[in-house]
């Protein structure tokens, strides 16, 4: 476990020293919040900002996780991973370190977005709600960053990683319940949205907003995260370069 924190510390230090990355990673979700949350002419709810904020929080986490896989890709291209794999530290600590770094990074970004949303007028101040939201975002982050880190381990170079990334990013977001509730969607989209892990995270946060504890959706996310994580551990233990 100590090895995991060592790997995480390295990635976070590098990220924070590249100050510009910290800022640029916040621009996209903030833009969504302002341009979509405040500007879209919506009729199904009076407070679209309250409705869209869970979607944007999950979008921020999704973006952080998708970008996060590139951390491992660069370690691999630049030769760091070869050194790490030849070390006695358990190999899965490389994976866990990346997941933790990516997810913590994502949580820092979502914090900024959350503050932003509250400033803009979203009603999200309840501390219990915020803690539970963080928990959901954490599980979601573990699921996605574990998947992307393992994908990066398998792919050949950064170009193919970027291609894979853009292939899944937009479909995952638009076939989720981020932008509209299921009853406003065409039937086929609602069907897809019910399968999408992104919707699970968003729906769970929305349930919290109205005071429901979303046991099944969190359970679904947890099961997904555990499955993906065990698969990733297996792949990392076997990894050759």
């Amino acid at each position: 476990m100590r090895r995991t924190f060592t790997y995480t510390e390295r990635d976070l230090r590098r990220w924070i020293r590249g100050r510009i990355n910290v800022i640029t990673s916040l621009v996209m979700p903030a833009a969504w919040l302002i341009f979509v949350g405040l500007a879209l002419p919506i009729r199904f709810t009076d407070n679209y900002l309250d409705f869209i904020t869970p979607g944007i929080l999950v979008l921020t986490m999704l973006g952080a996780s998708l970008q996060g896989g590139a951390l491992l890709m660069f370690d691999k291209i630049l030769g760091f991973l070869q050194k790490f794999l030849a070390m006695p530290a358990p190999r899965e600590s490389i994976l866990f370190g990346k997941i933790l770094a990516i997810t913590l990074r994502g949580l820092m970004q979502t914090t900024v977005i959350l503050i932003f949303a509250i400033v803009l007028g979203a009603h999200l101040l309840d501390p219990v709600f915020i803690v539970q939201t963080y928990l959901i975002l954490f599980i979601f982050g573990v699921l996605l960053s574990s998947l992307m880190t393992t994908v990066a381990l398998g792919l050949e170079d950064h170009d193919s990683y970027a291609a894979f990334n853009s292939m899944i990013a937009m479909p995952l977001f638009f076939t989720s319940s981020a932008l509209m509730p299921y009853d406003q969607m065409p039937g086929w989209l609602a069907f897809l949205a019910h399968l999408n892990p992104v919707s699970y995270a968003i729906d769970a946060i929305r349930d919290l907003q109205v005071g429901i504890i979303p046991v099944t959706t969190i359970g679904g996310l947890l099961i997904g995260a555990v499955c993906v994580l065990s698969m990733s551990v297996y792949v990392f233990r076997k990894a050759t370069i």
């Binding site: 090895r3 790490f84 030849a86 006695p88």
Partner: protein, 318 residues
Amino acid sequence: MAIIETFGLTKHFNSLVAVDEMDLSIDREIFGLLGPNGSGKTTTVKMLTTLLTPTAGEAKICGYSVATQPCEVRDRISYVPQDMAVDMKLTGRENVVFFAKLYGIPHPRETADEALAQMDLSSRADDLVKTYSGGMRRRLELSQALVHDPEVLFLDEPTIGLDVAGRRKIWEHIISLKNGGMTVFVTTHYMDEADHACDRVGIIDKGRIVALETPNALKSLHCHDIIAIRGEGEYHGTIVPDVTFIGKIGDELRFKAISGEDSGIPLLRALSDSGLKVQSVVIRQPTLDDVFLSLIGDQDETVAFDHHRFRTMLRRRA
């Protein structure tokens, strides 16, 4: 028991035989693996460092099998690949402390300071690595590799891309590590460096070890005297007794002879008769470069660039 032992070590990549039935026994010395690009050097190192699984055969480090006891092997080795991977945005000290923590060393900070001092980096330890020169970055990698006091150090092209002073310094450090009892396995294609620093060298070609000796033994075994001739005109394969053509480097023809003094004049005459206008003749002691040339031949002149093979190699590196 030797520190590094391999028995029939073999690696195939689909139809490409990268390493073919390699038998080695290396013990507390600097062992240099020399060979042209694509001859299997890096693949060998990757198998010995547990990064690749051998297709056949066996390799043991300190008595532990790389295939079935990789964790025990990783405990005893350090591997510095040729890419120079150090974190530019961290300081030299942070880079080494990071490795010390990964190795689970009891006092990471103190140990890191020692390793930095050992590589003469103490005065710059708190500067960001992006301000380091190439030679300093390589020494920083050596510090990282040394924090857990390994028994075997694997270095893949340790001096590639460094200036002359940087190279000399790296080799001084490698030699002092060996004198401290460490086994060093190094790949290189700088012959002069291998000649000067390695206790034994193995020359590898197309995955096979074609020669394995001390540099001096190799030189006296494979070449006696070297006659190097520069001239105008084509070489038509003229040969005189006791002289063998070994290759052409630039516009210089190289021959090996049992006695350069005895064969020099007849060779010159024969070359002039065949129409070559000789401009200069040098008779000298052989270098490892000559041994390499006579064993492997002149790669650039004889073998066309194989694009497919090159891409396979790159992919393997990535």
